[in-house]
Protein backbone atom coordinates (compact mmCIF):
# COMPACT_ATOMS: atom_id res chain seq x y z
CA UNK A 1 0.00 0.00 0.00
CA UNK A 2 2.74 2.37 1.06
CA UNK A 3 5.03 1.07 -1.68
CA UNK A 4 4.27 3.84 -4.17
CA UNK A 5 5.74 6.37 -1.72
CA UNK A 6 9.29 5.08 -2.21
CA UNK A 7 9.41 6.50 -5.74
CA UNK A 8 8.75 10.19 -4.84
CA UNK A 9 10.93 9.69 -1.75
CA UNK A 10 13.85 8.53 -3.91
CA UNK A 11 13.45 11.42 -6.35
CA UNK A 12 13.02 13.95 -3.54
CA UNK A 13 16.11 12.76 -1.68
CA UNK A 14 18.15 12.83 -4.88
CA UNK A 15 17.11 16.38 -5.75
CA UNK A 16 17.83 17.54 -2.19
CA UNK A 17 21.27 15.88 -2.29
CA UNK A 18 21.98 17.50 -5.65
CA UNK A 19 21.20 20.93 -4.24
CA UNK A 20 23.40 20.16 -1.24
CA UNK A 21 26.31 19.28 -3.52
CA UNK A 22 25.88 22.41 -5.64
CA UNK A 23 25.61 24.56 -2.53
CA UNK A 24 28.90 23.34 -1.08
CA UNK A 25 30.50 22.26 -4.38
CA UNK A 26 32.25 19.30 -2.80
CA UNK A 27 32.74 16.31 -5.11
CA UNK A 28 32.47 13.58 -2.49
CA UNK A 29 29.01 14.85 -1.50
CA UNK A 30 27.84 12.78 -4.44
CA UNK A 31 24.01 12.79 -4.77
CA UNK A 32 23.86 9.09 -5.61
CA UNK A 33 26.04 8.20 -2.63
CA UNK A 34 23.91 10.28 -0.25
CA UNK A 35 20.54 9.02 -1.56
CA UNK A 36 21.80 5.45 -1.56
CA UNK A 37 23.20 5.57 1.99
CA UNK A 38 20.03 7.06 3.46
CA UNK A 39 17.71 4.64 1.65
CA UNK A 40 19.80 1.51 2.30
CA UNK A 41 20.15 2.26 6.00
CA UNK A 42 16.40 3.04 6.26
CA UNK A 43 15.33 -0.10 4.39
CA UNK A 44 17.60 -2.29 6.53
CA UNK A 45 16.57 -0.60 9.80
CA UNK A 46 12.84 -0.80 9.02
CA UNK A 47 13.17 -4.29 7.55
CA UNK A 48 11.58 -3.32 4.24
CA UNK A 49 12.27 -5.77 1.41
CA UNK A 50 13.82 -4.75 -1.89
CA UNK A 51 10.78 -6.10 -3.76
CA UNK A 52 8.53 -3.70 -1.86
CA UNK A 53 10.86 -0.81 -2.58
CA UNK A 54 11.26 -1.75 -6.22
CA UNK A 55 7.56 -2.31 -7.01
CA UNK A 56 7.18 1.28 -8.21
CA UNK A 57 10.72 2.65 -7.98
CA UNK A 58 11.77 0.03 -10.54
CA UNK A 59 10.15 2.31 -13.12
CA UNK A 60 13.25 4.45 -12.90
CA UNK A 61 15.44 1.50 -13.90
CA UNK A 62 13.32 1.07 -17.03
CA UNK A 63 14.44 4.52 -18.15
CA UNK A 64 18.12 3.51 -18.05
CA UNK A 65 18.07 2.01 -21.55
CA UNK A 66 16.65 5.13 -23.28
CA UNK A 67 19.10 7.22 -21.20
CA UNK A 68 22.01 5.27 -22.69
CA UNK A 69 20.55 5.80 -26.17
CA UNK A 70 20.36 9.53 -25.39
CA UNK A 71 24.16 9.56 -24.92
CA UNK A 72 24.27 9.37 -28.72
CA UNK A 73 23.56 13.12 -28.80
CA UNK A 74 26.69 14.26 -26.87
CA UNK A 75 28.68 11.62 -28.76
CA UNK A 76 27.54 13.08 -32.08
CA UNK A 77 28.44 16.58 -30.92
CA UNK A 78 31.93 15.48 -29.82
CA UNK A 79 32.56 13.52 -33.01
CA UNK A 80 32.22 16.68 -35.00
CA UNK A 81 35.14 18.34 -33.19
CA UNK A 82 37.34 15.35 -32.55
CA UNK A 83 37.11 13.53 -35.89
CA UNK A 84 40.81 13.82 -36.79
CA UNK A 85 41.99 12.35 -33.51
CA UNK A 86 39.37 9.64 -33.40
CA UNK A 87 41.53 6.67 -34.52
CA UNK A 88 44.17 7.56 -31.95
CA UNK A 89 41.60 7.93 -29.19
CA UNK A 90 39.84 4.70 -30.18
CA UNK A 91 43.06 2.65 -30.10
CA UNK A 92 44.05 4.13 -26.72
CA UNK A 93 40.66 3.24 -25.28
CA UNK A 94 40.55 -0.31 -26.68
CA UNK A 95 43.92 -1.01 -25.03
CA UNK A 96 42.74 0.76 -21.87
CA UNK A 97 39.60 -1.40 -21.72
CA UNK A 98 41.69 -4.59 -21.92
CA UNK A 99 44.05 -3.28 -19.20
CA UNK A 100 41.10 -2.21 -17.04
CA UNK A 101 39.31 -5.56 -17.19
CA UNK A 102 42.47 -7.67 -16.77
CA UNK A 103 43.93 -5.67 -13.84
CA UNK A 104 40.58 -5.49 -12.06
CA UNK A 105 39.70 -9.18 -12.33
CA UNK A 106 43.32 -10.21 -11.65
CA UNK A 107 43.67 -7.97 -8.60
CA UNK A 108 40.29 -9.04 -7.21
CA UNK A 109 41.27 -12.72 -7.41
CA UNK A 110 44.69 -11.99 -5.88
CA UNK A 111 43.15 -10.26 -2.85
CA UNK A 112 40.89 -13.26 -2.37
CA UNK A 113 37.56 -12.30 -3.94
CA UNK A 114 35.32 -15.07 -5.26
CA UNK A 115 34.99 -15.48 -9.07
CA UNK A 116 31.45 -14.05 -8.88
CA UNK A 117 32.70 -10.92 -7.17
CA UNK A 118 35.67 -10.62 -9.53
CA UNK A 119 33.25 -10.81 -12.48
CA UNK A 120 31.01 -8.21 -10.83
CA UNK A 121 33.98 -5.83 -10.53
CA UNK A 122 35.16 -6.29 -14.15
CA UNK A 123 33.08 -3.43 -15.65
CA UNK A 124 33.80 -1.09 -12.70
CA UNK A 125 35.19 1.70 -14.94
CA UNK A 126 32.09 1.76 -17.15
CA UNK A 127 29.13 4.06 -16.59
CA UNK A 128 26.52 2.31 -14.40
CA UNK A 129 23.64 1.66 -16.85
CA UNK A 130 26.04 -0.19 -19.15
CA UNK A 131 28.12 -1.72 -16.36
CA UNK A 132 25.08 -3.51 -14.90
CA UNK A 133 24.23 -4.92 -18.33
CA UNK A 134 27.82 -6.17 -18.75
CA UNK A 135 27.74 -7.62 -15.24
CA UNK A 136 24.71 -9.75 -16.13
CA UNK A 137 26.44 -10.96 -19.29
CA UNK A 138 29.53 -12.16 -17.40
CA UNK A 139 27.55 -13.80 -14.55
CA UNK A 140 28.30 -11.07 -12.01
CA UNK A 141 25.90 -9.50 -9.51
CA UNK A 142 24.57 -6.17 -10.86
CA UNK A 143 24.01 -4.67 -7.39
CA UNK A 144 27.66 -5.30 -6.47
CA UNK A 145 28.72 -3.87 -9.83
CA UNK A 146 26.73 -0.71 -9.17
CA UNK A 147 28.60 -0.26 -5.87
CA UNK A 148 31.97 -0.97 -7.51
CA UNK A 149 31.22 1.64 -10.17
CA UNK A 150 30.34 4.14 -7.46
CA UNK A 151 33.56 3.44 -5.50
CA UNK A 152 35.59 3.78 -8.71
CA UNK A 153 33.95 7.07 -9.63
CA UNK A 154 34.48 8.53 -6.18
CA UNK A 155 38.16 7.49 -6.12
CA UNK A 156 38.67 9.19 -9.48
CA UNK A 157 36.67 12.30 -8.61
CA UNK A 158 38.49 12.84 -5.32
CA UNK A 159 42.13 11.90 -6.07
CA UNK A 160 42.19 11.53 -9.88
CA UNK A 161 43.45 14.98 -10.83
CA UNK A 162 46.16 15.24 -8.14
CA UNK A 163 47.43 11.75 -9.09
CA UNK A 164 47.54 12.60 -12.82
CA UNK A 165 49.44 15.82 -12.15
CA UNK A 166 51.82 14.04 -9.77
CA UNK A 167 52.65 11.56 -12.54
CA UNK A 168 53.34 14.34 -15.03
CA UNK A 169 50.14 14.16 -17.11
CA UNK A 170 49.50 17.84 -17.87
CA UNK A 171 47.87 17.67 -21.33
CA UNK A 172 44.20 18.58 -20.97
CA UNK A 173 43.17 16.11 -23.69
CA UNK A 174 45.07 13.26 -22.00
CA UNK A 175 43.58 14.18 -18.62
CA UNK A 176 40.06 14.15 -20.08
CA UNK A 177 40.52 10.81 -21.79
CA UNK A 178 42.09 9.22 -18.70
CA UNK A 179 39.25 10.36 -16.42
CA UNK A 180 36.49 9.39 -18.87
CA UNK A 181 38.03 5.95 -19.45
CA UNK A 182 38.97 5.10 -15.86
CA UNK A 183 36.19 6.74 -13.85
CA UNK A 184 33.17 7.18 -16.16
CA UNK A 185 30.58 9.91 -15.52
CA UNK A 186 31.79 10.94 -12.06
CA UNK A 187 35.37 11.38 -13.26
CA UNK A 188 34.15 13.18 -16.39
CA UNK A 189 32.02 15.54 -14.32
CA UNK A 190 35.04 16.35 -12.14
CA UNK A 191 37.49 16.89 -15.03
CA UNK A 192 34.92 18.98 -16.93
CA UNK A 193 35.21 21.54 -14.13
CA UNK A 194 38.82 22.07 -15.26
CA UNK A 195 37.82 23.19 -18.77
CA UNK A 196 35.69 22.57 -21.85
CA UNK A 197 38.34 20.59 -23.69
CA UNK A 198 38.85 18.18 -20.79
CA UNK A 199 35.08 17.76 -20.56
CA UNK A 200 34.61 17.03 -24.26
CA UNK A 201 37.40 14.43 -24.34
CA UNK A 202 36.13 12.93 -21.10
CA UNK A 203 32.60 12.50 -22.50
CA UNK A 204 33.87 10.87 -25.67
CA UNK A 205 36.13 8.51 -23.69
CA UNK A 206 33.21 7.63 -21.40
CA UNK A 207 31.02 6.51 -24.29
CA UNK A 208 33.76 4.73 -26.24
CA UNK A 209 35.12 2.86 -23.23
CA UNK A 210 31.61 1.70 -22.34
CA UNK A 211 31.10 0.41 -25.88
CA UNK A 212 34.45 -1.39 -26.09
CA UNK A 213 34.16 -2.82 -22.58
CA UNK A 214 30.74 -4.24 -23.44
CA UNK A 215 32.35 -6.09 -26.34
CA UNK A 216 35.53 -7.14 -24.51
CA UNK A 217 34.27 -8.13 -21.05
CA UNK A 218 32.49 -11.34 -22.17
CA UNK A 219 35.71 -12.35 -23.97
CA UNK A 220 38.24 -11.54 -21.22
CA UNK A 221 36.45 -12.34 -17.95
CA UNK A 222 36.03 -16.11 -18.67
CA UNK A 223 39.83 -16.35 -19.10
CA UNK A 224 40.20 -15.60 -15.38
CA UNK A 225 37.17 -17.24 -13.78
Amino acid sequence: MVNFLYLPLTIGLFIAAKHLQQRFSVTWLNPVLITLSILVVSLLALDISFDDYNQYSGWLSKLLEPAVVALGVPLYKQLYDIKAELPRIAITIVVAAVVAIATTVGLALVVGASPEIAASLAPKSVTTPIAVLISEQVAGEPALTAIAVLITGLVGAVVGIPVLKLCGVHSSKAQGIAMGTACHALGTARIAEEGHQQGAYGALALVLSATFSAMLCPLIVPLFT
Binding site: L64, V68, L107, L133, A143, V155, M179
Partner: protein, 138 residues
Amino acid sequence: MRKFQKSVVLEMASGLAVIYAALWAGRWLSEISGNLLPASIVGMLLLTIALQFRWIKLAWVERTANQFVRWMSLLFVPISIGLVEHIETLLQALPAMLLTCALATLILLVVVGKAYQHWEHKHELKATQPQSVDGEAK
Protein backbone atom coordinates in the same frame (compact mmCIF):
# COMPACT_ATOMS: atom_id res chain seq x y z
CA MET B 1 4.08 31.87 -23.37
CA ARG B 2 1.60 29.27 -24.61
CA LYS B 3 3.49 28.96 -27.83
CA PHE B 4 6.71 28.35 -25.90
CA GLN B 5 5.15 25.59 -23.79
CA LYS B 6 3.65 23.95 -26.81
CA SER B 7 7.02 23.80 -28.53
CA VAL B 8 8.64 22.33 -25.41
CA VAL B 9 6.03 19.56 -25.24
CA LEU B 10 6.45 18.87 -28.93
CA GLU B 11 10.22 18.72 -28.64
CA MET B 12 10.07 16.34 -25.68
CA ALA B 13 7.58 14.13 -27.53
CA SER B 14 9.58 14.02 -30.74
CA GLY B 15 12.74 13.34 -28.72
CA LEU B 16 11.10 10.43 -26.91
CA ALA B 17 9.84 9.04 -30.21
CA VAL B 18 13.30 9.19 -31.80
CA ILE B 19 15.06 7.71 -28.74
CA TYR B 20 12.61 4.83 -28.37
CA ALA B 21 12.70 4.17 -32.11
CA ALA B 22 16.51 3.92 -31.88
CA LEU B 23 16.19 1.66 -28.84
CA TRP B 24 13.74 -0.69 -30.54
CA ALA B 25 15.90 -0.83 -33.63
CA GLY B 26 18.83 -1.51 -31.29
CA ARG B 27 16.94 -4.36 -29.62
CA TRP B 28 16.20 -5.94 -32.96
CA LEU B 29 19.77 -5.60 -34.26
CA SER B 30 21.21 -6.82 -30.97
CA GLU B 31 18.97 -9.88 -31.08
CA ILE B 32 19.73 -10.90 -34.65
CA SER B 33 23.47 -10.42 -34.01
CA GLY B 34 23.39 -12.85 -31.07
CA ASN B 35 23.53 -10.16 -28.34
CA LEU B 36 27.04 -9.10 -29.24
CA LEU B 37 26.33 -5.67 -27.72
CA PRO B 38 23.61 -4.54 -25.29
CA ALA B 39 20.55 -3.18 -27.14
CA SER B 40 20.90 0.26 -25.57
CA ILE B 41 24.46 0.68 -26.87
CA VAL B 42 23.41 -0.37 -30.36
CA GLY B 43 20.58 2.17 -30.07
CA MET B 44 23.04 4.86 -28.99
CA LEU B 45 25.31 4.14 -31.96
CA LEU B 46 22.29 4.14 -34.31
CA LEU B 47 21.22 7.53 -32.96
CA THR B 48 24.74 8.90 -33.50
CA ILE B 49 24.81 7.53 -37.06
CA ALA B 50 21.34 8.92 -37.81
CA LEU B 51 22.45 12.38 -36.64
CA GLN B 52 25.75 12.15 -38.50
CA PHE B 53 24.07 11.29 -41.81
CA ARG B 54 21.33 13.89 -41.27
CA TRP B 55 18.57 11.28 -41.30
CA ILE B 56 17.16 13.12 -38.30
CA LYS B 57 17.61 16.69 -37.09
CA LEU B 58 19.48 17.44 -33.87
CA ALA B 59 16.61 19.74 -32.81
CA TRP B 60 14.23 16.76 -32.75
CA VAL B 61 16.13 14.99 -29.96
CA GLU B 62 18.39 17.51 -28.29
CA ARG B 63 16.12 18.70 -25.49
CA THR B 64 14.93 15.23 -24.48
CA ALA B 65 18.43 13.76 -24.68
CA ASN B 66 19.82 16.54 -22.50
CA GLN B 67 17.21 15.80 -19.83
CA PHE B 68 17.97 12.07 -19.93
CA VAL B 69 21.70 12.70 -19.58
CA ARG B 70 21.13 15.22 -16.82
CA TRP B 71 19.03 12.85 -14.71
CA MET B 72 20.86 9.67 -15.61
CA SER B 73 22.51 9.24 -12.22
CA LEU B 74 19.10 9.25 -10.48
CA LEU B 75 18.06 6.34 -12.70
CA PHE B 76 20.62 4.00 -11.22
CA VAL B 77 19.63 4.55 -7.59
CA PRO B 78 16.99 1.75 -7.51
CA ILE B 79 19.40 -0.78 -9.06
CA SER B 80 22.02 0.11 -6.46
CA ILE B 81 19.43 -0.26 -3.70
CA GLY B 82 19.35 -3.93 -4.75
CA LEU B 83 22.42 -4.30 -2.58
CA VAL B 84 20.17 -4.61 0.50
CA GLU B 85 19.49 -8.15 -0.73
CA HIS B 86 23.21 -8.84 -0.87
CA ILE B 87 24.29 -6.89 2.18
CA GLU B 88 26.14 -9.84 3.75
CA THR B 89 28.07 -10.57 0.55
CA LEU B 90 28.86 -6.90 0.24
CA LEU B 91 30.12 -6.43 3.79
CA GLN B 92 32.26 -9.55 3.40
CA ALA B 93 33.62 -8.42 0.03
CA LEU B 94 33.95 -4.74 0.83
CA PRO B 95 37.68 -4.65 1.75
CA ALA B 96 38.61 -6.60 -1.40
CA MET B 97 36.29 -4.42 -3.50
CA LEU B 98 37.67 -1.16 -2.13
CA LEU B 99 41.27 -2.26 -2.60
CA THR B 100 40.69 -3.60 -6.11
CA CYS B 101 38.64 -0.64 -7.33
CA ALA B 102 40.98 2.00 -5.93
CA LEU B 103 44.22 0.38 -7.06
CA ALA B 104 43.03 -0.70 -10.53
CA THR B 105 41.49 2.72 -11.14
CA LEU B 106 44.65 4.63 -10.27
CA ILE B 107 46.81 2.31 -12.41
CA LEU B 108 44.46 2.74 -15.36
CA LEU B 109 44.22 6.50 -14.91
CA VAL B 110 47.98 6.96 -15.02
CA VAL B 111 48.57 4.45 -17.85
CA VAL B 112 45.93 6.04 -20.11
CA GLY B 113 46.96 9.61 -19.28
CA LYS B 114 50.64 8.90 -19.87
CA ALA B 115 50.03 6.91 -23.06
CA TYR B 116 47.78 9.50 -24.70
CA GLN B 117 50.00 12.40 -23.70
CA HIS B 118 53.04 10.59 -25.13
CA TRP B 119 51.21 9.90 -28.39
CA GLU B 120 49.88 13.43 -28.63
CA HIS B 121 53.36 14.86 -28.02
CA LYS B 122 54.92 12.65 -30.70
CA HIS B 123 52.21 13.70 -33.15
CA GLU B 124 52.84 17.37 -32.44
CA LEU B 125 56.59 16.95 -32.98
CA LYS B 126 55.90 15.36 -36.35
CA ALA B 127 53.48 18.10 -37.29
CA THR B 128 55.99 20.84 -36.49
CA GLN B 129 58.80 19.17 -38.47
CA PRO B 130 57.24 18.41 -41.86
CA GLN B 131 60.60 18.36 -43.65
CA SER B 132 62.26 15.69 -41.57
CA VAL B 133 62.51 12.16 -42.93
CA ASP B 134 59.61 10.01 -41.82
CA GLY B 135 60.48 7.74 -38.94
CA GLU B 136 63.37 9.89 -37.87
CA ALA B 137 61.26 12.84 -36.86
CA LYS B 138 62.51 13.23 -33.35
